[in-house]
């Protein structure tokens, strides 16, 4: 692969990077004119756009593109350097569809203009801001930009009407607003509007030191807070070179898998409540309370955990945790039969979900989807197998994959993932080694060396990535979170075209979105 890149793009400066230390394989420096050629090359060779964001070093801005492959792991970081006042770059939204929204986000946070972009309107922020938020100094938003960044004008016509699937609705994704243009009962176009829960996590990361930022990842995705905590803590450990003892790795794995089960259970209840079946909600929450009790005894909180520390855990687990987990495992294996009878064999459920919302493989690559969404379309892509972290390489499990890509397949995959998690917890509990639960000599105020690092983790919704730029001081220079729900959500406008609105709500539920992680 490296030779192929060198052969086709000889004029770029390419450097090989040590993967275990940095998290990516290649770093490329491209100019503004060459970036389209580079992106076209990656698209032809089957790569997907993992992330696209901007970093503000005060003398210049850097647009960072990350490309990765679904078939094997090969992460390439491409960097385009831009000058700080009126930075412009060509858009790649016609090559990779997901870049449309990444570029809108970069524009409103950094002030980078993208030529030929179809609609550079505000995505996350409200209209009343004076300066670009994530720039290091105060850079004012020019007047002509203010007029262009409105909420979007909608063309009305005689036959169609607009409906708000508004921020306040009975589904439990969070505050997502979708403006739907409808013709009778069919949807002609759906446009998600985000930013109703933008809580400035990335800006807070630049204002707090590493230990002070620990509560934040849990609030980003509250349903799988431990997975987000793990991503953050492992990223900082990677850049600082802290080695975590074995016992802590196993306990991290067990607690993350428990959190995954609880997140999938809540998704189950909420998804069926979207479809109209309100009973499984109660069953799912009953099982979930069991998990929450186990985790509360160890971490101290029920929902937004901050259990991991740099180098290990906050405190050790005791026998009560192990006994409670074993009892839960036994109980859960029997409860899965209830869900099977209640839901999977239900004729109404099968009729509503079979053949609806089919996501093809090529679209999955163009959008960079991950998680059960991509595994439902036949691609066996799971970061726990591809880039094992914590103790996953010592546990034995299979990833469920389905072929059709409709809603029923995504549901079946999530149910099978609950079973997979139960197996992982069982095998990790047996192999739990004794020993210290914290690395020694971790400084109280961490000052990691200069550099950047990328780390990914498999959250229940998909691939979660953290990119950390450290400038040697106590606070990070830039922390970027690549959240799985962002790329999963952006398939919705394409999936929902021309379907009945009841099917569109089912599709939205099956994508398993948690909006606070999108809005960050």
């Amino acid at each position: 692969m490296l030779e192929k890149i060198r052969a086709e793009l000889p004029e770029l400066s390419i450097s090989e990077v040590s993967y275990p230390e940095r998290g990516y394989h290649l770093a490329m420096d491209a100019g503004r004119e060459q970036i389209l050629k580079v992106v076209g090359f990656f698209d032809k060779n089957g790569f997907y756009l993992e992330d696209l964001f901007c970093v503000d070093y005060v003398e210049y801005l850097e647009l960072v593109y990350f490309f990765n492959n679904h078939c094997g792991l090969f992460r390439v970081k491409t960097v385009v350097r831009l000058e700080p006042d009126k930075p412009t770059a060509p858009t790649i939204s016609d090559i990779y569809a997901i870049a449309h929204w990444y570029e809108r986000e970069i524009h409103e946070f950094f002030g980078v203009y993208f030529e030929n972009h179809p609609n550079l309107a505000y995505l996350f922020l409200h209209d009343g801001l004076d300066s670009y938020p994530l720039r290091k100094g105060t850079v004012k938003v020019p007047e002509e930009d203010r007029k262009l960044l409105g909420s979007g004008a909608y063309k009305e016509s005689e036959d169609t009407f607009f409906v708000n699937l508004g921020p306040q609705h009975p589904s439990t994704h969070g505050v997502l607003r979708v403006v739907i243009k409808m013709d009778g009962e069919y949807i002609l176009s759906a446009e998600p509007m985000l930013g109703y829960l933008h809580r400035m996590h990335e800006k807070m990361a630049e204002n707090r030191n590493y230990a002070q930022f620990l509560p934040n990842p849990g609030r980003m995705d509250y349903l799988s807070a431990l997975n987000f905590n793990l991503a953050y803590v492992e990223t900082v450990e990677k850049i600082s070179g802290i080695i975590v003892p074995e016992r802590a790795q196993y306990i991290r794995t067990i607690t993350c898998e428990l959190n995954r089960i609880s997140s999938h259970l809540l998704w189950l209840g909420a998804f069926l409540a979207d479809l109209g079946g309100l009973t499984p909600f109660l069953y799912a929450f009953d099982d979930r309370e069991n998990i929450l009790d186990i985790l509360e005894g160890v971490t101290g909180s029920r929902l937004t955990y901050s259990y991991f520390r740099f180098g290990g855990l906050f405190n050790d687990v005791d026998e009560k945790f192990a006994d409670g987990t074993r009892a839960f495992l036994e109980r859960m294996w029997k409860r899965l039969d209830i869900y099977d009878q209640l839901i999977t064999k239900n004729v109404i459920f099968i009729n509503r979900t079979k053949g609806v919302g089919i996501l093809e493989r090529d679209m999955v690559r163009k959008f960079g989807c991950s998680g059960p969404v991509i595994r439902g379309s036949g691609v066996p892509f799971d970061m726990r197998k591809l880039e094992p972290y914590a103790a996953y390489q010592h546990t034995d499990f299979e990833i469920p994959v389905a072929q059709n890509g409709d809603i029923l397949d995504r549901y079946m995959i999530r149910v099978k993932e609950i079973e997979t998690s139960l197996r992982i917890i069982g095998s990790a509990l047996e192999k739990l080694p004794a020993g210290p639960f914290n690395a020694e000599k971790v400084p109280k105020k961490l000052k990691p060396p200069k550099g950047d690092v990328y780390h990914t983790v498999e959250s229940p919704r998909g691939q979660l990535g953290v990119y950390l730029v450290s400038d040697g001081s106590e606070t990070p220079h830039r922390m970027r979170w690549r959240v799985p729900s962002y790329s999963n959500l952006m398939t919705f406008p394409f999936l929902a075209q021309g379907v009945l609105i009841a099917d569109a709500v089912a599709i939205l539920g099956s994508l398993d979105l948690v909006i606070p992680e999108i809005d960050r």
Partner: protein, 125 residues
């Protein structure tokens, strides 16, 4: 005049049903506080402002649904007195004429079924 007096149960039924619907509204008008804000009387659109008009041209299949409903409704209207008087004993002739009546009304529904009014395509674009 005499026959009109015989309908007194119907009049009492009419008065009670009228009172049943109107009395809660009157009670609420009398004993509940009233609030009005800037956006109280707006259409509920999940908190956002609605845009675009609502007086648009709808698809004609909704009209056909309304027609089918009317067919059923008239059906029921004619069956009410039949149901009341059926207990006085009858002969086979009444039963078969009733069957013919219902079959003729059901023809409208079967015609609509055959024309595909009840099947909606899952995806049109």
């Amino acid at each position: 005049m005499k026959t009109l007096i015989e309908f007194y149960p119907v009049f009492i039924f009419l008065l009670v049903s009228f009172g049943f619907t109107v009395a809660p509204m009157v009670i609420a008008f009398l004993i509940a506080p009233r609030t009005s804000g800037a956006k109280t009387l707006n259409t509920y659109e999940c908190g956002a402002d609605p845009f675009g008009g609502a007086w648009i041209r709808y698809a004609s299949v909704y009209y056909i649904y309304a027609l089918i409903f009317i067919a059923f409704d008239v059906d029921v209207l004619y069956l009410f007195p039949l149901a009341v008087s059926y207990t006085r004993g009858g002969n086979a002739y009444e039963f078969y004429s009733l069957l013919v009546f219902i079959a003729l009304l059901a023809l409208a529904v079967i015609y609509a079924w055959g024309k595909g009014v009840f099947t909606w395509k899952r995806k049109i674009l």
